[in-house]
Symmetry: D2
Subunit: 290 residues, 4 copies
Amino acid sequence: MAKYGFIGSGLMGNPMAMNLIKAGHQLTVYNRDAAKCKNLVEAGATQVSTPLEVVAAADVTYCMVSDPEAAMAVCFSPHGVIQGVGSGKGYVDMSTVDPQTAEKIGISIQARGGEYLEAPVSGTVQPARDGQLVIMAAGDESLMKRAQAGFDAMGKKTVFLGEIGAASSMKLTVNMMMGSMITALSEGLTLAEASGLKGEDLLDILAAGALACPMFQGKGSAMLANNFTANFPLKHLQKDLRLAVQLGDHHRVPLANAAVSNEVAKRACQIGLENDDMCAIVQALRPPQA
Amino acid sequence: MAKYGFIGSGLMGNPMAMNLIKAGHQLTVYNRDAAKCKNLVEAGATQVSTPLEVVAAADVTYCMVSDPEAAMAVCFSPHGVIQGVGSGKGYVDMSTVDPQTAEKIGISIQARGGEYLEAPVSGTVQPARDGQLVIMAAGDESLMKRAQAGFDAMGKKTVFLGEIGAASSMKLTVNMMMGSMITALSEGLTLAEASGLKGEDLLDILAAGALACPMFQGKGSAMLANNFTANFPLKHLQKDLRLAVQLGDHHRVPLANAAVSNEVAKRACQIGLENDDMCAIVQALRPPQA
Amino acid sequence: MAKYGFIGSGLMGNPMAMNLIKAGHQLTVYNRDAAKCKNLVEAGATQVSTPLEVVAAADVTYCMVSDPEAAMAVCFSPHGVIQGVGSGKGYVDMSTVDPQTAEKIGISIQARGGEYLEAPVSGTVQPARDGQLVIMAAGDESLMKRAQAGFDAMGKKTVFLGEIGAASSMKLTVNMMMGSMITALSEGLTLAEASGLKGEDLLDILAAGALACPMFQGKGSAMLANNFTANFPLKHLQKDLRLAVQLGDHHRVPLANAAVSNEVAKRACQIGLENDDMCAIVQALRPPQA
Amino acid sequence: MAKYGFIGSGLMGNPMAMNLIKAGHQLTVYNRDAAKCKNLVEAGATQVSTPLEVVAAADVTYCMVSDPEAAMAVCFSPHGVIQGVGSGKGYVDMSTVDPQTAEKIGISIQARGGEYLEAPVSGTVQPARDGQLVIMAAGDESLMKRAQAGFDAMGKKTVFLGEIGAASSMKLTVNMMMGSMITALSEGLTLAEASGLKGEDLLDILAAGALACPMFQGKGSAMLANNFTANFPLKHLQKDLRLAVQLGDHHRVPLANAAVSNEVAKRACQIGLENDDMCAIVQALRPPQA
């Protein structure tokens, strides 16, 4: 088995790394806040104190951090990934970034003789724990062979999409639709409530028809219960909507639905909900509490 | 078995009426364009030439026409439904109307001693043929007993929601979400195409995750194939979005996502697509053909 | 001089009627809340207790009420305008209504031998007091001769636009732009404040350039002073935005900017500001007070 | 008189530089496309071949290029501005950039002992020719003394706004409102045309009321005449809307009106109008030509 590395042990990275360990992979880990690697070490991982050391120890290093700025820092900071990359090294960045960031990182990795895949995922904390993520990969197809075992431990499905930029574009497109859909769900529930209907009846009817999807059931129930414990923080959804609108800008595609959903998400952040789950977006539409 | 009547033999009404006949009900039918009842007569229905005659012959009359104006005309025109209503008569209007129209019709029916249910449906032509509609009913709960056999022949699920207005409000809420979702799907596919991705890959990834729903698969494939043959005409979706935005107006609920989806739908109608299927909305976003 | 009548003595109607009296016209007045005619009677008007009596006493009757429902009631209720209309009577409805309402009223007036003009205005309370309204008229051009003296007392400019419906369409178009512009101003001021800039500097810079308009100075200053005393209530602006979006619907014109401005206005109404001045719309964008 | 320099001789920069020459300033000029400096040289300017040489020759150098990328290149490229900055040198960047870019440039200038002002302008080509721009300045207040003479030659009004970032934030706020307003104007004219009204009547009525502004008259007339010759290219307006929406993102201010206006502008670019004047945005709303 290849020696794997994992950078980033947050809400998503921690359970993803754990699945690599459970699948029997020798794993070297790093996280800025070192305490978050404790359970991984207890399960058998080796902890180091810089991204560089991870890359030095591993054949293929996976990374899962929260946004483009963090992904760039992990790669290019002193003692960053780029310092340890050379022939034979593979780097798989699974963070959600914009295509331009994926390109900057990927080109630098390749320039130093390494192989690179951008591989963002669809799915949040529970699918991450269950190893049921959907993985969208692009970049060096030759790295897919060595990385696939790791993908199989972390996910239920991997799709290879082509050249660097394709996977981040796809991820942003999917999350853009998620942002529009959770805004639509918020509008549906708020309108139902205001019309004297029961939100449970709306979810029931949705579940029986062509619009039935797992997200409506899960997030809809959370909204009805006012349960906003963060699975996927609203500020990350809003970041994805922003990046998607920018991608549309880049390709001259008008995205009015995504653009207004982005503004509703900003309003929800403005009123203090940015660290709550993305389903807290409904609070931007409900009348303020008396 | 109760004697049933059916007014309206269009895209939806015809297969719904056919299911009543197949279930063994004695059926009296009427349609403005008489030729559209031909297959129903061949299957055993009795055709008459006014709504009034339908109500006279039936214990419970169902109606399925295209919009509030048509529903009002069927009820209140000379030789309309209201002329034949009295004690013992039941009227079930399954057309999609705004709550105010449902109220006008229902109150008039009740004033003449009849029983009334508004019972719009979720589902389009194929579910109508297959007897797999989702039926949302409200009004005189006492009429549910006599109408349920008809509902069971036409649908897979009936939900009773309360007083007149509740079912049309629920229907508009569901169709509002459908309008927002098909706009989101259009944005996703157009952005994917512009980014050099394959639309099929997007649909694949959607199908594997929390956003997976039958509509994305069906309408997404149709969009990729440029197949806009009307199942649910775009002009009807746009009408539903308009009525939903007005309902939000009535209840002071801001619906930015639905409001812009409505404007995108109007743009698609403006460029000539209003009689195409609702999935033709994607053409308002794609670059014009060279 | 022609004998004039005036129906509606609210925020706008009262000063408009006063200008007719000051110009020397013999005026018969009516208002649902009779107390609001007190100052007009003191200035020389004759007060009556039904719209019918106004029309009976006057050659040309002007009406200024708040919305389509009120305009219809004034015309068609028992003892309404329509009862008193016949050959030689002129009716000039200056209320802001949708074109379909203008048509219903106008056609009924004409059917009874009367002449009709729809004549909505641009301008709020201060221009009403100063006789500086902009009047948009349409309908029976022959009535313009007898009505012009009244228009000259109430306004600074009259434009005759054509057939019934043209003036209400024009009024809605203008007020739609006003709704979009006051939303844009709200966004500008809120963004400036959040960026650490002074709102006064923004208004200063606007006043010096191509975007300089009286509304920005007036409403902008009111927003900075948190002065929301109603000149033009927000609920009326929202009604106009709603009617404009519907007019766009009727003509298949996509109006995304107006549609979202309408939703922002609804949000402001939802949080309790509907009886405040339209400039209170900025509160829907500012962060909630601590 | 101070020795001035001017970098950028495009649509805006050329007439601005010409006004400095006409006011009697000794001017050193540079433009990437050298031919565009011809008229300036004929009027007495000295042409050089790099930004560095401009800064070397001048006490205060003004720059006017088209976007953040160009502004960064002028400053940081080999033989760029930064190479020539030291104690006593002043740099005034009048390009429209986002606040982060202004900060990067300004901090670098200051780090080398120079003084810096960001000074974007309001107004397009004609006001540039007439020396009637509105100038928004921020940064080193001490540089205002030496730069003011240049500002007075180029503009009618200068406002000093504070620390670096304040002027670019203000400029983006103003241009965001311009984008929303020209979208509102497009909606107004398109709705008027579709309702059978004359666009000239709408412009007439606007000019008489509280919404009267120079932009409506100028751009409105151009739209009616289908005259889209570029004064301010649509692609620049769309860039400004994009940067404004991002600034709102940064400060958590929801900007729904600006966001949808941005999408309408993108649609207009998508259909081929990005090099036309910003008033070509109306073509995204008008029905396609038969």
